[in-house]
Symmetry: C2
Subunit: 365 residues, 2 copies
């Protein structure tokens, strides 16, 4: 797959436009030529701008944790999107061992295989806690390993944003009809859902959203959640903030490694790489949860109208989401098995939810 | 504080009766005398029986992770409750460096300080995801460090059970009146809550619950959740299973280390200890979430009636929970600061919840 096509088609998630695409930087490449120390030096590329809150900072924490826990025996140098390879070449960079690892989100690689979004987030899917359970104990990791082995890559969960918001709208959404004719920035499988609701999904990188809202090219946009959205200032031009969204209920980032390079590591360094990822998987969700609480409060103080979508809108969103997600099973044998494993887990999680976190939060004082 | 008093008074949590109290085993002590390898050997005691599902197995994973990531440079040998010290002497064992670390739950140490339960779970408190956020980013860790520094101990989060169930009842609970005169096994702050509802809370270790239910000494019991409860067979004598419970909405286990011993470790080993805990914090909740889903299905197949408590019962439980938890603030300066930090976080989390995981789970298809 050529770069242009991948860039064009990888627009499959909310995190998309946080990724920056630009040329290689040979300066940086030179800096990490092995210094004859006998230590291993790994390059970690990412799909995020340097120190982008939550995502870029989380990737940096993984790199630092590996370096620190191994006392520099495995030193990981992080490259933000575009510093070594463009954001959406990071998967292939790891595949070809141009880089040894990458931090991003699996739904960016949907054109490599239609089911990659199941390891990040799909519309109407699992919460972060549920997704962790499916990956770690419900058979998810094994299916993910099988899927990525074809590319000589192995994936670990590497952080989660929690449930993302439904988006910013210039006009109120009071009924299902209000989606008809709406031009909305919405990436990935969520785009297919709102298109089937009568809207027109528009793919836009982050930097182009505000001008598009201001010019009237779009009427609405989704992004991430209060913490990341506040910084963009969407509330200044589209003051109706709806959520939660239907499309990314707990978006997992991934930390992928070149499988051959990983297998060549001594066992203790493999353990360090794995634990650095799992540990960040816990930390990043904590940071998003805390920072979103604080940012939502600020948005309300700024006069933003925060609401749930009307009940009939949610009903339709989730109905169509289930159809769109089920269609991925038709793409092949592995796709069918991923969908079936995930569906079984989701069904059991939903049966349990009224007696678990969902039931608790709905009632507590 | 002498051992008898601690044992008697530490009965403060659902996990309590999973802890086994018996004498020291000098055999085991001998086995870990340093073998002149130059490597560091640490003893990890726990409040759990060996390989107790979720809790004991999670503690073992932490010990193994530290050993494996450090390539044996810091080798951690795990002692189940009673193998080196009795369960409820594990905190003091770490304090006195009889052991270097321990895995348990902070609410066991309520008689050392009234606010220790805030680092495990309190009635009407935070979910696992929220509690992680408060500890890691909302100021919780700093208050915990301050509280435990007095005992020369440092705590890390070391796993979570998720929201626990409300309990097993011989008779249906159809109204608030049904709690009056009820004899129920309930530990900790939750006991105070049901006493104020007119019930009589009874403190019983796990092994004594079934006989007490069978003899009629108690009418009801809480335990953990479907996974751990199924194994005990409570459904055979008390077939009405209510949940979620009000009393442990996301019980965090802790991994504590002797502060002086920890500070003497080289920095990379400190990092390894911390990441092993944070990583298990993610894994254990995943295991409970997955296994509870599966076990609940089995319980339903076995004919168990699973229900929520009636609305007015929950309302009263949460009202009294808030009072009981607020009273901890009166115990002293640190107690007041812990309560205020936690309350501020809880308030913001509740404001956010309708637009986050709670709102999502209530609506998804």
């Amino acid at each position: 797959m050529n770069r242009r096509k991948l860039l064009k088609t990888a627009a499959v998630g909310t995190f998309l436009a946080t990724a920056v695409a630009c040329g290689k930087n040979s300066e940086d490449e030179k800096k990490i030529i092995a210094k004859n120390t006998g230590k291993i030096e790994w390059k970690m590329v990412t799909t995020w701008p340097k120190n982008f809150p939550g995502l870029g900072t989380g990737a940096q924490r993984i790199a630092d944790s590996i370096t620190n826990m191994s006392e520099g025996q495995l030193t990981v140098k992080l490259y933000a999107a575009g510093e070594l390879v463009p954001a959406f070449e990071s998967f292939d960079a790891v595949r070809q061992e141009t880089a040894h690892m990458s931090h991003g989100a699996s739904y960016y690689w949907i054109n490599k295989n239609k089911s990659t979004p199941f390891f990040a987030a799909v519309p109407g899917g699992l919460t972060a806690q549920e997704h962790n359970a499916w990956i770690h104990y419900g058979g998810g990791q094994e299916l993910w390993d099988e899927l990525y082995a074809e590319f000589n890559v192995k994936g670990f969960l590497g952080g989660n944003s929690g449930v993302q918001m439904g988006g910013w709208f210039k006009n109120k959404i009071e009924a299902l009809e209000d989606f008809k004719g709406l031009k909305m920035r919405m990436p990935g499988l969520g785009a297919e859902v709102i298109n089937r609701m009568g809207a027109t999904a528009v793919a836009l990188p982050g930097g182009e959203i505000m001008p598009a809202l201001e010019s009237g090219a779009i009427d609405a946009t989704e992004w991430v959640g209060p913490w990341n959205d506040l910084a963009f200032g969407f509330y200044k031009v589209a003051n109706n903030y709806y959520g939660p969204g239907f499309h990314e209920p707990g978006t997992h980032t991934e930390c992928i490694v070149n499988k051959s390079a990983y297998e060549k590591l001594p066992k203790y360094l493999q353990n360090i790489v794995e634990h650095a990822c799992v540990s960040e998987n816990n930390k990043m969700l904590s940071e998003f949860t805390y920072a979103n609480n604080v940012a939502q409060k600020k948005l309300i103080d700024l006069g933003v109208n925060i609401n749930n979508f009307p009940a009939d809108v949610y009903k339709e969103m989730f109905k169509i989401s289930n159809e769109v997600v089920a269609e991925t099973a038709n793409a092949g044998d592995i796709n069918k098995r991923i969908y079936e494993s995930w569906s079984k887990f989701k069904k059991e999680a939903r049966e349990r939810a009224p007696f678990a976190e969902q039931g608790y939060m709905a009632r507590r004082g």
